[in-house]
């Protein structure tokens, strides 16, 4: 079930990045909202990892804490560092606009159906939240517009990886959602040119192994322990 693993890793790494905002948000309400979204992603990751590990008798924690970056299957988008709040929100916009239709299509799936159905509801909320902020930032002040546009420009290339076959049909829906939001945010859609890829086959950016070093340090330091 490589597919479940890829989705699980997307959610897990997204959760890890989002949780970095904890106690650092621009306002208290946003601290709470980001933690909520991180918790949703983490919850979905746990269900998907448990599912993915079943056939090999591996637990969610085996998969989360005992794989190297070369074994992770997440898209590059989620592992990129969150420079500022605009990067975080635009990244979430791109991710949620992808996760929502993807989970919708999977909610018909026999095995993953129940997990996906729960995730659909959550990603609807994530998408709304990210849209709202993208619009506020894009159409807010000059500085917020500049930062939001820079985030869009920097992250756009990484969205192509989400729609590599067999997921290419999802891009139509994704583009619709994203374009509408960018327009309302007075932000410009970048050209499609550079298409970095590799995450699904375990060839990541230099950022992921550093993220995992921190995430896994305690678990790995005590092999076989119960927590």
């Amino acid at each position: 079930m490589t597919d479940a693993l890829a989705l699980a890793d997307d959610a897990l790494i997204a959760a890890q990045r989002l949780a970095e905002w904890c106690s650092r948000g621009p306002e208290l309400e946003e601290d709470i909202a980001l933690a909520n979204i991180a918790l949703d992603q983490l919850g979905t990751a746990r269900l998907l990892l448990t599912h993915a590990g079943q056939e090999n008798g591996r637990t969610e924690d085996d998969l989360a804490f005992l794989r190297t970056d070369r074994e992770f299957r997440n898209c590059l988008l989620v592992e990129l560092p969150d420079g500022d709040f605009a990067v975080t929100m635009v990244k979430l916009l791109f991710l949620a606009a992808y996760q929502k239709p993807l989970y919708e299509s999977l909610s018909e799936d026999g095995e993953l159906g129940p997990i996906a159905a729960k995730a659909v509801k959550e990603s609807t909320y994530h998408l709304d939240h990210a849209k709202l902020w993208t619009i506020r930032l894009g159409d807010g002040t000059e500085e917020s517009h500049r930062r939001a546009q820079a985030a869009v420009d920097d992250l756009w290339p990484y969205t192509h990886e989400l729609f590599e076959p067999p997921f290419d049909p999802l891009r139509t829906t994704w583009l619709e959602t994203v374009q509408t939001t960018l327009e309302e945010a007075t932000l410009t859609r970048p050209e499609d040119r550079w298409r970095p890829t590799g995450g699904r086959s375990g060839v990541h950016t230099e950022h992921l192994s550093l993220l995992l070093a921190e995430m896994q340090v305690l678990h790995r330091a005590h092999p076989g322990a119960t927590w």
């Binding site: 106690s23 305690l218 322990a225 927590w227």
Partner: protein, 306 residues
């Protein structure tokens, strides 16, 4: 004044004072100070625990810890809202935190060095907070009392989770057990100090008792906390780091060594291990977020005008 009469009657009758009621200025100020300090403590308290979210040893523990830190942000929100009913707004309160004019609980100026500290904070720090806060659910000021009811419920949940972390560690590998004992060794006295200076040296206590904001003295609450912890430590199979701790059958309570109050005063004054770090973190988050808040305000203004 009739207002004052009414106020005294309400207090005497164990009735709640509500925002629209007349109240003495000093009562209002005391409450603002106390509620704000409590709110700030929740916000700053996110940092020591937040320090371990990225490294939590299992996904389940990560989720629990993240949810707990999120709850603290929520408590901060309720409490700021309660303070706002007294005629001060949140921006002013945040400004007072960031500028250092208002304090937060000194306990959060200690570092979280290992995962076991997350357990110790849950068990001891949240435990002490609960002992402190349960009586506040009967506080004379309505909005504060109601916020505390909600908070106490969640805190007792957090305390159980902390206890459970320590229990798992102390019944785990030798390394885990040592980690748990080490955390309890470091957090015990700072937790005792959370109840404030001894009654003789406590400045605000008497008036607060009269106003029924405070219900028990610092020393009474501290004693209650010790009496509660001793049997729990036994089940945890962890030692409280006090060789003089023993049951005094005559007095029907535990005898224990007092925390170092000079250290407490030093930490309150700003010289704890992490005061500067916590404040710098808070200030940086506040400053880094300024452009976001400005954008949100500018956007809201545009929409309101349209």
């Amino acid at each position: 004044p009739t207002g004052a009469l009414h106020f005294d009657e309400l207090i005497a009758a164990e009735q709640k004072i509500e925002p629209r009621d007349w109240m003495p200025d000093a009562y209002r100020k005391t409450l603002i100070r106390q509620i704000a300090q409590h709110a700030h403590s929740e916000i700053i308290g996110m940092q020591p625990e937040g320090n371990w979210i990225s490294r939590a040893p299992t996904l389940k523990r990560k989720a629990i810890l993240l949810a707990k830190v999120q709850d603290e942000a929520g408590h901060g929100l309720y409490l700021y809202a309660a303070a706002e009913t007294l005629g001060i707004n949140r921006d002013e309160l945040v400004e007072m935190l960031v500028s250092g004019r208002q304090k937060y609980s000194s306990i959060f100026n200690y570092p979280t060095l290992t995962w076991a500290d997350i357990g110790a904070i849950g068990w001891l720090v949240d435990g002490a907070a609960i002992v402190n806060q349960v009586p506040l659910c009967r506080c004379s000021y309505g909005p504060y009392a109601r916020a505390m009811i909600r908070i106490c419920k969640e805190e007792s949940f957090h305390q159980r989770q902390g206890y459970e972390i320590l229990y798992t560690l102390s019944h785990g590998t030798a390394g885990q057990k040592a980690m748990a004992q080490d955390a309890v060794d470091r957090w015990w006295y700072p937790s005792l100090a959370m109840f404030g200076p001894p009654d003789g040296d406590s400045t605000h206590s008497e008036q607060s008792m009269a106003w029924k904001i405070k219900r028990f003295s610092n020393d009474d609450l501290r004693q209650k906390f010790v009496d509660m912890c001793v049997p729990q430590a036994e089940i945890l199979d962890l030692k409280l780091p006090d060789p003089d701790l023993h049951w005094n059958a005559e007095e029907g309570r535990h005898h224990y060594t007092q925390p170092d109050y000079t250290e407490l005063m030093r930490v309150i004054k700003g010289d704890g291990p992490c005061n500067r770090q916590r404040m710098a973190h808070r200030r940086r988050a506040h400053d880094d977020g300024a452009w976001v808040r400005e954008a949100a305000a500018a956007y809201a203004k545009k929409k309101a005008a349209a």
